[in-house]
Symmetry: C2
Subunit: 391 residues, 2 copies
């Protein structure tokens, strides 16, 4: 079989392209060679002699559309690909933009740029910032989500804790990512008890509160847990896309007819961001990807603790949750990790009002006053209106 | 709700534990503090005041069971966890051993140690080295797998190439990982044509040859493609666990009643290994994990090219594919990337006979002599018996 014997057939490409931006470490020559190699590796991954001339070479291969120095021994490359290589799934988007590139060090995926109609093909959030605010009837202030932990509590113990949180009038109560279907804390019993506890407390306070169980698990268990949670009256679903793929979020976002808000958790996504010169930049990993997949809330490791993430990273994640992205609604970034009322000003200055505050251990410093502590926290947010932003 | 008001309930732990080994960078004090933090973060991820005394503190938390210096500013820690926290899925194994740990830099997962009965709960390979050799009727020599590429070829063009490979008497022919269900190369047509081409050629040569399509895709499409491939007569399935999760491999491995050999491809797994002081060491990422998930063949980026992986890494991956692991069969490591007959001696010295050689672009240097080049490659392997190992 020679190439001569295989008449070139058109690939039916529209000529429209999407693009990915990379930071590449090295000398100008090294970085450029890397960018040129990515054009091939991310598409045909083949030696020159097996790439026929014509449409494959001219239209299918990646093309470097922008190139500039971005720092010492650092270059920024924008590479475009035909839109026909995407299919509306996040896995194909990741495969096309970083599947093989990620196997090399010194290359970092720093941005994605998709035409609006391609964004429309992705699952995307069903609620987004506005939808979730409407659901919760909280028009303006930051949202508050308390966490059920530790692993090792029985469903009864977790439900008792959920009751405290709901009496404290938080907006959401989520499972810790460690809660699965352990023998000492079965998923079904936990969800039933927590839904009931939150519903009871909520009916007394008059404050809407969503209980959000953790459903990450392999197929088909994921769907069974999501379905069980919805039937039991859960108010949202927590998913770890690092463990089961971003398209697991997408599938849950696409489930009809009654969708639930989705929270994306960073468990097992760490390898992608901890090394500054490889992997995926935080605004893509914790902003664009969960948003395109369908998360309404993106949780990520926060700056100021022990994680290798900066305040600037967090600001850019928030920007990626909100920037114009076709018809894709904006979503909530989430300041997780040792959040206390003393940090509200700092956080609100950074994030504005469209943010979720996660209350984990710190709100439980006085075990007998958990509801009160939550109420005080929410009260501060209610008192400080958007007019106080940045004070 | 005070802890005093919540009587400690037993968690029903057997006392048996599995363990993970980490390399931690830093001073002795920093590294030890990190190990101690992982014991908490990988289980309850909670502040001390919300961890009740009793079973949770005594039995559920991680425990540092081994600790030693492993180099300058480098320590090796072994941390054990109760076996009751696993559930037979790879995602839970990854969550328990690296879910939160991975969000910190300077920590690398370097080994996993599971009791035999826990290994038995994992999907594991259905064929393994022996099963695949029996299926192919190739008792001893390295196996040969040719690749259908480039993306952009029509199903008819790929089938013509598959025919050449099959006439060249290779053992397997796999799709390139770039082949999905693109408009110019639909999955169903590609599989049908390639199966037919390989079957025709194989019936003439008398040599068994498996055609292995790439099926990675979101649920439920993955199952539809796997099912379509099996019905069409495909001889195996190629999966990228980086894109859709290691449990996608596990589910395909568990599918009955007629399983197909599974090939694991490293697409989008790069972030986990490229930085030497974080992520997951190659022997775990490309050896233990695909093996526990059910791959019969693990493909990984090979040393000596542009990937940040060493000959020692590749040797250790191979060891992880073969080391005793409960009742889990050994699987084939795979030397991918610019494989030519001139490298057979080098590769056989490194890997021995239980290895798969991937033939990509290089075997097609003379487009009219692809079948001949494949036949010559296989002939060299047949001529060199295991007795020549290491010559």
């Amino acid at each position: 079989m020679s190439h001569a014997s295989m008449p070139e057939e058109g690939l039916g490409f529209s000529g429209r392209r999407f693009s990915a931006e990379y930071h590449i470490q090295g000398s100008a020559a090294q970085a450029r060679a890397c960018a040129d190699r990515l054009c091939i590796d991310q598409t045909v991954e083949a030696a020159d002699h097996v790439i026929p001339s014509g449409a494959i070479r001219d239209e299918l291969l990646g093309q470097v559309t922008a190139w500039e120095a971005a720092g010492p021994m650092l270059y920024r490359a924008k590479i475009s690909f035909p839109i026909e290589l995407l299919d509306g799934s996040v896995s194909t988007l990741l495969h096309m933009t970083f599947g093989m590139a990620g196997l090399h060090g010194h290359v970092r995926l720093t941005d994605l740029s998709l035409p609006d109609d391609l964004v429309a093909q992705m699952a995307g959030p069903r609620f987004g910032t506005t939808g979730l605010r409407n659901l919760l009837q909280v028009p303006a202030r930051p949202l508050v989500c308390a966490v059920l932990k530790p692993l090792g509590f029985t469903p009864r113990q977790l439900a008792a804790l959920a009751k405290e949180f709901a009496q404290g009038e938080v907006d959401m109560i989520k499972d810790d990512q460690s809660l699965g279907d352990q023998p000492f804390c079965r998923f079904e019993e936990r969800v039933a008890r927590c839904v009931e506890a939150v519903r009871d407390a909520s009916s007394r306070t008059g404050k809407r509160c969503l209980y959000i169980p953790h459903v990450s698990s392999p197929w088909p268990t994921l769907l069974e847990r999501a379905s069980m949670a919805r039937k039991a009256g859960a108010g949202g679903l927590l998913v770890c896309p690092g463990l089961i793929g971003f398209d697991a979020l997408a599938l849950l976002a696409r489930l009809g007819p009654i969708p639930l808000p989705l929270l994306s958790h960073p468990d097992f996504l760490g390898s992608h961001y901890v090394s500054p010169d490889s992997g995926i930049a935080p605004p893509v990993l914790f902003g664009l990807l969960p948003r395109l997949a369908g998360a309404d809330i993106s949780i990520y490791p926060t700056y100021g603790l022990t994680y290798p993430i900066s305040e600037a990273d967090c600001r850019q994640i928030a920007a990626s949750c909100r920037r114009p992205l076709g018809a894709c609604p904006s979503i909530f970034p989430t300041a997780a990790g040792r959040m206390t009322s003393s940090r509200i000003d700092e956080m609100t200055t950074l994030y504005g009002q469209d943010v979720v505050y996660i209350l984990g251990s710190d709100i439980r410093r006085e075990p007998d006053k958990i509801a009160k502590a939550c109420r005080q926290f929410v009260h501060i947010l209610n008192r400080d209106g958007p007019q106080d932003l940045g004070k």
